[in-house]
Amino acid sequence: MRALWLAAALLAPSAFAWDSVCTKYPNKSLEPKELERQTGTPCSPSAGPRTARERWVGTLDEHRRLWEMTREKAGLPEQVSATRTLTVFTGSSVVDIEAQPVPTLVPVPFAEAARVAYRSYSVGEFTHLPDFSWALWDWASGHEICPLEGATSLADCHDFAAHMGPVNSNHFVPQSREYYTHYHQLALERAAECRALGLKLTTAAGRFDEFHRECELEALTLEAVGQHYLQDAWSMGHMWERWGSSSLMDFPGATVEEKRDRAVLTALVSGFFHGARGVLQALPSWTSFDVNDAMCAPWEGVRFKATDGTINNGVGDDYLGVFQADAPYQAQSSLFFQCSVSGLLEVYSAAGEAHGTALPEGGFVSIDPTSERCFGQRATNQAIALGGAINLKIAGLQSSIPIDARFVSLMLPKVARASGKVAVAPKMRNEFRFQLQRAVTVARLRAKDDPDGTSLASGEWGTFMGAQPNGQYKGIARYIDAPWPWDEANDRTQYVRRTFHRAHATEWCASTSMADLQLLKTRAEDPSLQVEDRVAACTACTELTVRHLRIGTGPGAYDDTKAPLCDYLTPSPARVYHQVTGITDPLGTATRYCCP
């Protein structure tokens, strides 16, 4: 058994959360159930622009599966989970992915459209977003804009281990509550606008129901992003106040580099207590092992205290099957689903249930998903002490390597630089060793004194590398989607509005002028454009114009049975009058109007 211990040369680690996956499939537009039956290839690189272009469906896509279970329990129609393909108008520039030029996904003003990008996704996949993207605006802009200082590339900027992981304290309680609440509120605000949009379309005889559904899906997408944090809060490895902030600048240090070093080392240590299966199991020399590392792995003694005072068994990342099906974890899953279903139903109801009436499971009782009931659970002291070890089974035999004060005292931490991994300064090295010794010793003693207490998980474990328990850091990071209402002049707002332009039809109807429509037409008719540019211009012109088009010749002479979308959504929209002999449908007419 001892001979099987090898150095752990880790691959790019999975996120410390329920598992998130990115998979490249030959046909990206398929339904999730069809993709599940296929064999795709893991996204490469596993961070950055590549992940914005592929599907987040695959083996162990635990976040998405939790969402689907939530949807089923909430009784939302299956259509809510269908693949959507967004038509996005972009420029002609390219972005570098592994030295290959790839078309940009950054959406541009419609009149500047030079390419058309088709982006397929399903709402549930966006529960993975916080592990791949900084925000929805970031995904909308193809992961091609970095909101951080110090990243060396777009892939580096979005790399979990290098940048996202060091500031993922917001995936742990209590910060996760703040982030879920933020996105849940965003979702509710959008949902209210979607309901208003739907009401305006009541007299349209169903002709534009698609726009209401699109809007509702965007609201649910925001809820899905938020539910990542709610889901994480119910993963055993996340039920403690991890040290650190979701903003790098909150870490101590005279330079950004020092701040990042401290953040990286804090994340590394947090991962050990969380459970290191996600980073160790995939190692080539470890695949025959069962890395059942606490706290996420099922272990007798790894438990949490719920807000009702009950002590319950808990599991987490990589153990969704156990969470879902095993009797000892029924309380954990039951408590979680009551929160997640409540949140989903709130948003769906607020949006107007455009996809059909929700029929939640019998006996379901709704609660406030942002309440302490949903975020007050904490790992017991005993659970945290059990997390202070590397556990694995080799040929069925359980082995545990305690992370004790002696083990820690020999550690030599190194951090990444352009030249490679370098040792931290002796002062920081000794600080790391000493403070980790403190943490593991305090954990061991507290676990013996008060095994069912939750002081360690509740912010009473002291600091680490100068980082406070995350509950001490308030506020939302600046890279996150802004609170509602979004500033129209902000680029990030435009990235989302242009990507989800049908969902934001109300805004586009109100803001698009005759001059804008004329500009679209002029560009679409420009004979000097290259073919691809022309196709994009025609498509953009058609897409926008049809919403303003009255088939006819003027205000008193048009087909009022086919009034355009914007007539319903805004009091005085820009209007185009046009008719083509032999063509009676608005889309055909708009196409001929833009590109005769």
């Binding site: 992981g165 082995s399 390597i401 000794n430 060793r433």
Partner: protein
Amino acid sequence: MPLMRLVSLAAAVWLLGCPTEPSPYVEPPDSPLDLTLFPVVTGGSRLFADVAGARLEFDPTVKDAIVALGQCVDATSYCYAPGTSKSVSWCLQNTRTCATEAPWNEKPCCPQACKDAFETAVDGGVAPADAVEQVFFVDKACFPGLREALEVP
């Protein structure tokens, strides 16, 4: 029969080996970690984990106050068994007392100054587990070389 007894005793010693004295001190348990199985990397340390943003190596040769501290507190924390005679105080007081100002050169031990500081804290009303934290990880003064190790540039 004394000769026969002597022969029997000699035979027993030969068969069973010389009996060893149990350690009178509280000591940390043997570590299950076999460092020799981890590959050596540049500088003589051993590689444990390499993640994109960080890397953890071991330096099994390091000998300093932090290593010695680890031996001392592990001896105490492993020993402690609530509800038995092995209280935190008993465990700490029954560790080997360091004989020098360089405990990293000795067998696992705890400095007398730390033992005394611990008892003072407990007598002052601090809970024993909290007193361990206070003495060793907050005050730090009782452990030779510790403050110097933490203040190294």
